[in-house]
């Protein structure tokens, strides 16, 4: 892995961000957003993105003071070894559970929507095998692949959304406030952890060519992904109406089933490969981040050797729940609610500590001078 020492450019970084967070609009996230807010799911999506500005801004502020250090190193620097590692452990646990739950959902999507007769464990196994291969190649390669395929993945997504927009009834998004403003705010806050990935992008901050491009990339990604998610939830509401949307788990896949192009009546298989590509890249990156964090906490320099173990664990834990369509949906909702305060809290805590510590350090510098 000699080449993995090289840094990734802003394009690659943004492509990773688009695909890891952006792909969420194609799983059960829209359903989660709509379940309480009814027709106003898209406002909740927009709200989560807006609330996310706070933790992302604070994280960037803290990282900008410690350029060249990644998120973990900053944690250790700010909170000391014990508490820093403890927080990192919590983050690792969250990332690991998210990886398990999300990959189980995607396996379930493939299994229930496309390959109904193939055993789930085989699908899961292939998924993680491919992702281990990708993660093993290193961040630079994940970034390059993401950038190479980003355009095609987003084009197909755009076509789907466009179809949903013109195939549905715009009046379905009314009443505008859906389940009520209180519900929207509640959903916006509890589901804000949809964007928790941005916290983990801090881990790769020093691997992006310059801090400036990291900062720029993060903001662009946050903006684009928020708009994407909002537009998607809106499109699903328009196409399926909120009552149906609350009942089905994977609206994206239902939407592409509704598309027919001319004489081709079932074209979901044209969109499925592109969605799969995004899925593979997404979990390759998650796997990479989880093992990277694991490697930092337990001082394993060659952390790529841990990848197969982590991937195997993911498959065996992820395959365990019976009736995954329902169990994992519940699990994910719970996880998101638990993670939300962590997502907002950790950067705040870091920022405050940084302010206090940074102050004293500046004073030290002043004394020296």
């Amino acid at each position: 892995m000699e080449s993995s020492n090289r840094k990734i450019g802003i394009r690659e970084y943004m492509a990773i961000a688009f695909l890891t967070v952006g792909t969420k609009l194609s799983d059960d996230t829209p359903t989660l957003l709509v379940s309480e807010t009814l027709t106003a799911g898209w406002i909740a999506a927009l709200l989560t993105g807006i609330i996310s500005i706070v933790p992302v801004l604070l994280m960037i502020k803290v990282l900008s003071v410690h350029k060249g250090k990644n998120f973990y190193e900053v944690l250790i620097f700010l909170f000391g070894k014990l508490i820093g590692n403890l927080i990192a452990m919590v983050l690792l646990l969250i990332a690991f559970s998210a990886l398990i739950i999300d990959s189980a959902i995607y396996t379930d999507i493939i299994d229930t929507m496309y390959f109904t007769t193939t055993p789930a464990i085989v699908i899961y196994g292939v998924l993680m095998l491919v992702c281990t291969f990708g993660a093993k190649k290193g961040l630079e390669q994940i970034g390059s692949v993401a950038w190479l395929l980003l355009f095609y993945i987003k084009i197909t997504l755009f076509i789907v959304l466009l179809y949903a927009w013109q195939g549905g009834r715009p009046s379905f998004i009314f009443p505008l406030w859906g389940g009520g403003k209180g519900q929207i705010i509640k959903a916006g806050i509890t589901k804000v952890s949809l964007f928790a990935d941005f916290l983990y992008f801090g881990m790769i901050a020093p691997l992006v060519t310059s801090f400036k491009s990291f900062k720029k990339g993060t903001w662009i990604a946050l903006a684009v992904v928020t708009i994407e998610l909002t537009a998607a939830v809106m499109a699903y509401t328009i196409l399926l109406d909120y009552t149906t949307l609350r009942l089905i788990n994977y609206p994206f896949h239902e939407a592409i089933r509704n598309i027919n192009i001319g004489f081709l009546t079932n074209v979901e298989m044209l969109f499925f490969p592109f969605w799969l590509l995004a899925t593979f890249i997404r979990f390759s990156f998650y796997l990479y981040i989880v093992t990277m964090l694991f490697g930092f906490i337990f001082k394993i320099k060659q952390f790529s050797y841990v990848l197969p173990v982590v991937a195997t664990l993911v498959v065996f834990i992820g395959i365990a729940p019976e009736a995954p369509t329902f169990t994992i949906f519940q699990l994910r909702e719970t996880l998101l609610t638990i993670v939300s305060p962590v997502y907002i809290g950790v950067p705040c805590l870091m920022w405050i500590t940084s302010k206090i510590k940074g102050g004293t350090e500046n004073e030290k510098k002043m004394e020296k001078n």
Partner: protein, 513 residues
């Protein structure tokens, strides 16, 4: 297990390397320096060259007219220009009248070099040059007289294009370098010679533009060439395999071309080109995926036509890789995708075929590859017959015998024919082999398997590099360049040399060189 095998092999090699007493004696002789007595030198050389058993090594004794100094001209008559030696060496020596003149001043050849020891002298004789030794001189005079036989410059055979130059490289390195110099009239172009094999003394010429090519890259290539330790490397296709980083990879990392215009344009961009005797071609390094995908014609054709060709080729590439695999995937796993009428049509043709689809496709693909390979080896007079038998009769009969359904023939023939649009021979093999892998992947998991395999392939492609240059650059990782990847740009807009080479001068216009 592997370690044990390796041990066995290594120990065998060691045994073979035990020094042979004869060899060491010969080595000692070769190391010695040239003596002042002509006779001693002659007898030594005769011993080394096995004269008189060795027929074409000639020793011509001459006594210089005027001074009656004894000389001897040694050369190999089959690879030297004998009339030239007669006119410019032997005649002036014999006809000389002046007593005081030294031998090199008498000769009327264009260039004389000196050799102090036998090792150098032998090397020069083996290269076709003549050696003149004279009484009282402790150096031998090297007279350039090499004249190896080879064919003339002919038309390009494999990389055929319609518009543009038609000259091809030949088996003579000198001719090839001259073809390149004809295109690059630049004092900064360096032709560096590196010896790459011990016993046969093969040499390779390394060509680059001194004030363009990156020093590190030149050093890297030179080191790689010098570190080779083979007895003989006959030609460039063999050398290519010695130089590659990943020898069993499906993807080629060194570009092989028989077109001097193509090689010249790569040198202009800061690449390094290798040229060698016995090879009607050149090696270009580093090479990216795009250099295999391109042909020079796309730049010779006008902008829209060139890009139309590129669009055709990328389509052909995808059809060739995916056509059969998609057919297997759709008919096996996703039959709901096919419109009902077409599905019925396919089903009715398959009604009496006894094999599963994947077996049918694999059988037909194998047949296609076999016909293709056989067609390549068939002597040209009976070639067309084989083509007709193979393509028409075999296919027709297979359909009528209900072994293959007609749709499969269409799919396989389409995939097979489109693969010819990929003109680079290495990439062509890559495409043909990955096609089989995709068929197996889609047979196992349908579109899911194909996509999984596809992304594994992309991950792999992104991770390989050719002499430190990422395979898919400048697309990703991004470098400053003319962005000549899938499509080309207007010539005026192709302003930059590829940044991944780190050339000394990245801008193409308004600069010298």
């Amino acid at each position: 297990m592997f370690k044990k095998l390796k041990k066995i092999f290594v120990s065998n090699e060691k045994k073979q390397e035990e020094p042979n007493p004869n060899n060491s004696k010969e080595k000692e002789l070769k190391e010695s320096s040239i003596k002042r007595q002509v006779d001693a030198n002659i007898s030594l050389l005769k011993e080394i060259y096995n004269v008189p058993e060795n027929l074409d090594v000639k020793f011509r004794n001459v006594t210089v007219g005027g001074s009656s100094q004894k000389c001897c001209l040694i050369f190999i008559s089959t690879i030297s220009n004998v009339p030239m030696l007669e006119d410019n060496v032997i005649k002036p020596l014999v006809n000389n009248k002046e007593q005081q003149k030294r031998v090199p001043h008498i000769l009327t050849v264009s260039n004389i070099r000196y050799a102090a020891d036998f090792k150098t002298a032998l090397l020069e004789i083996n290269r076709g040059n003549a050696i003149l030794i004279a009484d009282g001189e402790d150096t031998a005079f090297i007279i350039e007289s090499a004249n190896f036989k080879s064919r003339g410059i002919e038309q390009v055979q494999n990389e055929v294009i319609v518009k543009g130059p038609k000259e091809a490289f030949t088996e003579s390195a000198g001719t090839n370098i001259s073809l390149l110099r004809k295109r690059l009239k630049n004092e900064n172009m360096v032709v560096e010679s590196v010896k790459i094999s011990e016993r046969s003394g093969n040499e390779v010429a390394m060509l680059y533009v001194k004030n363009l090519a990156n020093e590190q890259l030149i050093g890297k290539v030179r080191n790689r060439l010098q570190s080779l330790s083979a007895d003989a490397i006959q030609n460039l296709p063999l050398l290519e395999q010695y130089l590659e980083d990943r020898k069993i990879s499906l993807f080629p990392t060194i570009l092989y071309t028989e077109r001097p215009d193509r090689a010249a344009s790569f040198i202009e961009d800061g690449h390094i080109v290798l040229v060698m005797d016995n090879s009607p071609d050149s090696l270009i390094m580093p090479a990216t995926f795009w250099s295999f995908f391109h042909t020079p014609e796309e730049h010779y054709l006008r902008f829209p036509f060139g890009n139309f060709t590129r669009a055709l080729r990328i389509t052909a590439l995808f059809i060739s890789i995916f056509a059969s695999a998609i057919y297997v995937a759709i008919t096996n796993y996703h039959s709901e995708m096919i419109p009902a009428d077409l599905l019925l049509a396919i089903a009715s043709t398959r009604e009496r075929v006894p094999f599963p689809i994947i077996v049918e496709i694999l059988m037909m693909e194998m047949a296609f590859e076999l016909i293709r390979e056989a067609g390549l080896r068939v002597p040209s007079p009976i070639g067309p017959t084989i083509g007709i038998v193979g393509a028409l009769i075999l296919g027709q009969a297979a359909v009528e015998a209900n072994i293959i359904s007609p749709v499969v023939i269409i799919v396989v023939a389409l995939g097979g024919l489109t693969s010819f649009a990929v003109s680079d021979i290495s990439l062509n093999f890559t495409v043909r082999l990955t096609r089989f892998l995709f068929i197996l992947a889609s047979g196992a998991f349908g579109i899911y398997g194909m996509t999984a395999f596809f992304i594994v392939g992309i991950f792999y492609m992104v991770s390989i590099s050719s002499f430190g240059v990422p395979y898919l650059s400048p697309m990703s990782p991004k470098y400053k360049s003319s962005n000549d990847t899938i499509f080309r740009r207007l010539l005026e807009n192709e302003k930059f040399r590829p940044g991944y080479l780190k050339p000394k001068d990245i801008k193409k216009k308004g600069n010298e060189a």
